[in-house]
Amino acid sequence: MSVLTVLIVVLGAIFLVVGAWYVLTRKDLLVATIASSIISLILSVFFLILQAPDVALTEATVGVALTTIIFVVTIRNTKRMEE
């Protein structure tokens, strides 16, 4: 583990927490869904740093692609804004 990795991990942890809070507070559900897919992306980088390439591959495909598209389809069929 180099100093650069530690720096990436600290920045990523801050981004994760801020991103999760952003997902909860946004009224626009489409924006919140995209933010949650970015959380998944950071998480898959974390798994790669933690030496778990299998889990990183799964998280990248499932969390970023499929979960997001299912949420987007649901939002298209319901309301976009949260009241």
Binding site: M1, V17, A20, L50, T58, N77
Partner: protein
Amino acid sequence: MSEELMQQILSISFYGASLALILIGVYGVLTKKNLIKILLSLTIVDSGVNLLFVSLGYIMNGTAPIFSPAIMDGKIEVLKTAPMVDPVPQALVLTAIVIGLGVTAVGLALVIRLFRHHNTTNIDEIRNLKW
């Protein structure tokens, strides 16, 4: 930066991030009124638990649990130079991620169905309307 300090910082980052994700997700599940928001919070809790599991299995300066064989004296041998990280949490999390996708998909299908009946995704209004 010394090895000790690095380990401290990494420990606080990984454990703290997973703890924060779990707590933020539970807060969202308890306070939000919108069904889609509740499901988004559930996926956040899922991510936090997965991150916690994988970081529990990490070993400093370890490698991924994939062996690379080498030919020594005409015979194939398995090289093991560095310690390997714990593979069991990784296998469990692999299962958990795919199951989480299935659960989320079923939940969203139910949300679509509820929206057709009540024309809203707010749980308070659905409670007031009854079937």
